[in-house]
């Protein structure tokens, strides 16, 4: 029956060829439409790779004017907001606002670079004194004595609208060079 149709329509073009041509056309069309439809799927699946979904935002420490007449390190508790996909974790960390050797404002983490204890400021001795193993640091965080291999770690700071902000990070302990560990 098909053969008869073929001879009537166009004897010079075999039916198989016409059907194949249409087939190729449909195949190419389907691939094209399929590719078009997969665009939102790919963008949806790749979202976490193209956008930062795990990040630590920088946290406010306080008004810059409040630290203008700083004579000794002051402790501030900052809230760290860590976004992880659709959830966020808020934790509190203690940092010290102090001045470096050149008199510039800097923020030190309170975590001892020796074994990770929180280092309190000792007003009487005018030093940071770690209660765990006795490491001591000067008001600008430089190592004075004790088992720590380096001074207290400084944190990245920025100033937004007159507010001091800090990016909290953890650093490897028991090494002489400051090394970020996430």
């Amino acid at each position: 029956m098909l053969e008869r149709d073929n001879t009537i329509a166009n004897p010079s073009v075999p039916l198989q060829n016409r059907r194949s041509f249409l087939g190729v056309l449909l195949g190419v069309g389907s691939v094209f439409v399929g590719a078009l439809l997969s665009v939102p799927l790919v963008r949806f699946a790749l979202f976490p790779l193209l956008r930062r979904t795990t990040e630590v935002k920088n946290s406010p420490v306080g008004e810059l004017s409040g630290f203008a007449s700083l004579t000794e390190p002051v402790m501030r508790t900052i809230q760290i907001e860590q976004v992880d996909g659709w959830r966020k974790a808020v934790s509190e960390k203690a940092v010290y606002v102090t001045k470096d050797s050149k008199g510039q404002l800097q923020v030190l983490t309170s975590i001892c670079p020796h074994l990770g204890c929180t280092v309190p400021w000792n007003k009487e001795r005018n030093q940071f004194v770690c209660p765990c193993h006795g490491a001591t640091f000067s008001p600008d965080g430089t190592r004075v004595s004790g088992p720590s291999l380096r001074g207290m770690d400084t944190l990245e700071t920025s100033i937004e609208n007159g507010q001091l902000r800090v990016r909290f990070q953890y650093f490897r302990q028991l090494v002489s060079d400051k090394e970020v560990i996430g």
Binding site: L37, W86, T118
Partner: protein, 489 residues
């Protein structure tokens, strides 16, 4: 490879060579494809036959979008709503894909009704097609079950209350209704176990059944053959057949194209909304089901008390059995609708009843000013919530930390002492414990404040060995520290 071919098979040598020829020789794909495309359609291709493949297309689309949505969705009462909000508001193309999945469900029901109606009008269930009809009926039920179970998953107000009503309706079934309701809910109330159950049904159990039944539906269709037009003999087709490919394929593809364009623009222009998270305590909320459940919803309103068994069980069962038994009862070879007044009358009656019930439900809602106001308020709340930016959920650990700061001022002061003295370095933030030292959470059950004060000043030998130094603090600070440690729960 090619040279051995002629010895094995008497059929003419395949036109393909190379890799494709080899694959073909091993799989028989070419035969399968030819068998599929050359399926004879008595009387030729028609637009009336396009709905089956349209359903298959939507089903595949639902499977793909569903799998992708599961990349971010979490089935629990705590996180379901947050993750759906994340998909809708934060993830690229998330609102589009979720809309495609949600509107796809409605499109499925529409095309399913068209497919069913075409089969019914054309009398295509006649002539050895009983099992084909039955598998189609089962697929209908499964599609409605998919719509019902999927509806709950976003866990917003609308989803929660619609499902609460839906599962409550089941309990109207005498004797076993209450047990079925509890089985569906995973308890007497709706909760996180309900989501788990609906999720498992929606993504594992029902889809598995649908895959199996779609396969058997297509197999039975090919076994019985296409029924052809209304003046064709359902047992022994006599009209000139036309192969499925190319004209019927093109017609089928035109519906697919229409669905892609229609659903695509709908999802782009009117994305599906997400309401505020489910609040079971909200006594004001008026639940309304999706449009395709409205007739049943309205129907159930008329049956209460001792008569409920008739409306909830007897009439639906009789109706379902009548539909299932159709090809066994209606065995004549006549297929022209105008020669089948009983069948057409029954169809018209059922369709008019369903449409009438649905419209009645809308009418009642619109003419009760209290209900209309509340429904308008609910819609406004959904729109308002959908416009809000996404807010990440606070993790459980953060909540515990936040709760401590709310405790009494002495404990709050103790917290700063705890951190200032580096207790948290070994015992962890909030006293949860680390590898270096045991947790302090719940220590109030073991030691009184006086015992703790003594232990702090004079640690035991074991504590000393573990690295716990004696706590040397002014009495105020020590008391605050004890208050804090005792508050850890």
């Amino acid at each position: 490879m090619h040279s051995t071919h002629g010895n094995e098979s008497p059929a003419p040598a395949p036109s393909h060579e190379g890799l494709w020829g080899w694959i073909n020789h091993r799989t028989g794909l070419d035969d399968l494809l030819r068998n599929t495309l050359d399926e004879p359609i008595p009387g030729g291709a028609r637009f009336a036959y396009i709905f089956g493949s349209g359903l298959l297309f939507i089903f595949i689309s639902q499977v793909i979008t569903g799998v992708f949505l599961a990349l971010y969705y979490v089935p629990s009462a705590d996180h379901a709503h947050t993750t759906v909000a994340y998909i809708t508001k934060a993830v690229t193309a998330g609102s589009f894909l979720r809309s495609l999945h949600a509107y796809g469900a409605s499109a499925m029901v529409v095309v399913l009704l068209l497919h069913l109606s075409q089969t019914y009008f054309f009398g295509s269930y006649k002539g050895r097609r009983e099992l084909l009809w039955l598998s189609g009926c089962a697929l209908f039920g499964l599609v409605l079950a998919m719509a019902f179970t999927g509806y709950l998953l976003p866990w917003d107000q609308r989803a929660y209350f619609a499902t609460a009503v839906g599962t409550n309706a089941v309990s109207e079934v005498p004797w076993i209704g209450e047990s079925i309701k509890r089985l569906m809910r995973g308890g007497t109330e709706m909760g996180t176990l309900t989501i788990s159950r609906f999720f498992v049904a929606h993504v594992f159990l029902i889809p598995a059944c649908i895959f199996a039944l779609v396969a058997s539906h297509i197999f039975l269709f090919r076994k019985a053959g296409a029924a052809g037009p209304i003046d064709e003999d359902p047992h022994h087709p006599k009209q000139r057949p036309e192969p499925f490919y190319p004209r019927q394929v093109l017609m089928d593809l035109s519906l697919t194209a229409l669905l892609i364009i229609g659903l695509g623009s709908l999802c782009f222009l009117v994305p599906v909304q997400l309401g505020p998270p489910a609040n079971p305590a909200d006594a004001q909320y008026i639940p309304r089901p999706e449009w395709y459940y409205l007739p049943i919803f309205q129907w159930l309103k008329y049956w209460h008390g001792s008569a409920a068994i008739v409306g909830v069980l007897v009439i639906p069962t009789v109706l379902a059995l009548a539909v299932l038994a159709l090809p066994f009862l209606d065995r004549g070879v006549e297929r022209r609708p105008w020669k089948r007044p009983a069948a057409m009358g029954a169809y018209a009656f059922v369709v008019f009843s369903l449409v009438g019930l649905g419209l009645r439900s809308q009418y009642v809602d619109r003419h009760d000013s209290g209900v209309a106001q509340q429904l308008a308020k609910q819609r406004a709340e959904e729109e308002a919530y959908s416009r809000k930016p996404f807010l990440p959920e606070l993790s459980a650990a953060s909540l515990a930390a936040a709760n401590v700061t709310l405790a009494d001022p002495l404990a709050a002061k103790g917290k700063t002492v705890f951190e200032g003295q580096s207790c948290n370095a070994c015992h962890g933030d909030g006293g949860v414990g680390t590898a270096a030292a045991p947790p302090l959470v719940g220590i109030a059950k073991k030691f009184s404040p006086e015992q703790l004060a003594d232990l702090f000043r004079h640690p035991t030998a074991k504590m000393n060995a573990g690295g716990m130094p004696p706590v040397d603090l002014p009495p105020d600070d020590l008391n605050a520290l004890i208050a804090y440690v005792e508050s850890l729960k």
